[in-house]
Point group: C2
Chain length 155, copies 2
């Protein structure tokens, strides 16, 4: 009887610990990780999977991106803007000249057209996000320089 | 020692059961449920939360929808189409004249412009999805008639 009680208690603690860690450290596994993102535009390890392929009737690419801890995009801008939906872990988002914002599951961001910015994971926890890129008739993305360690660590 | 072994075994079974049920029955809780969807366009209980509010620079509404088991939209069409991303549970999607498709977490759908269709939960498991509506300059949605029990139960 004591063994069973101890067992149920341990199980409860483990399940509670799993639930407690979800908002800040558990990555979403809803969508596949996809392909490794190119080292020319990303620092560290990131993966991209295309969820909606654009076509003539439906010109809006949608993708899921997974960042390992410390991984992030280079600085870049979108001529038509981009929406980000945070789906798991802890992420960073920064527009040029503004402080880094922390993103957690459920947070959303509108990156305005032509504003240089970057996004990625925090140093200690990975990050998953959905990216929706509208108005692509003027281009999808303009890549800029790498986010330096000093810029990344200013948080 | 036997108690500890039994305990660890039970814990493993419970954690495995949690993981195993995820694809078909566990709803995503990444985004808030939001507001009850109007009974004029939905059968059963559904909730909608707007994730990206459209504006002049960024005219793409994005929302998360949660359907209770048995809940579904009325038949409707989108002049500019709509993309669906299944985020949890088990859903149904049907275009007029075609069979019902089952949707589970990770599945995606492009609803083509002007094609009557409906979507919602399966009878026994709820469903969560993200909806992305592009090309809204020609209108967001045209609502049609209710999905009858006979249409819904043909699966």
């Amino acid at each position: 009887m004591l063994g069973l009680t101890m067992c149920l208690t341990l199980t409860s603690i483990l399940v509670a610990a799993q639930q407690k860690t979800r908002p800040s450290t558990v990555l979403s596994t809803i969508f596949p990780k996809g392909q490794k993102a190119p080292a020319t535009n990303f620092t560290g390890n990131a993966w991209v999977t295309q969820l909606i392929q654009p076509d003539s009737a439906f010109n809006i690419p949608v993708g899921s991106v997974t960042f390992e801890p410390g991984a992030r995009t280079y600085w870049h801008s979108h001529p038509g803007g981009q929406a980000l939906l945070a789906t798991g872990g802890t992420g960073y988002y920064q527009e040029k000249g503004r402080p880094i914002q922390i993103l957690q599951a459920g947070d959303t961001v509108k990156c305005p057209p032509n504003i240089p910015h970057w996004h990625g994971a925090s140093p200690d926890a990975g990050f998953t996000q959905i990216a929706i890129t509208p108005n692509t008739e003027t281009g999808r993305v303009i890549w800029l320089q790498e986010v330096t360690e000093q810029e990344y660590r200013q948080k």
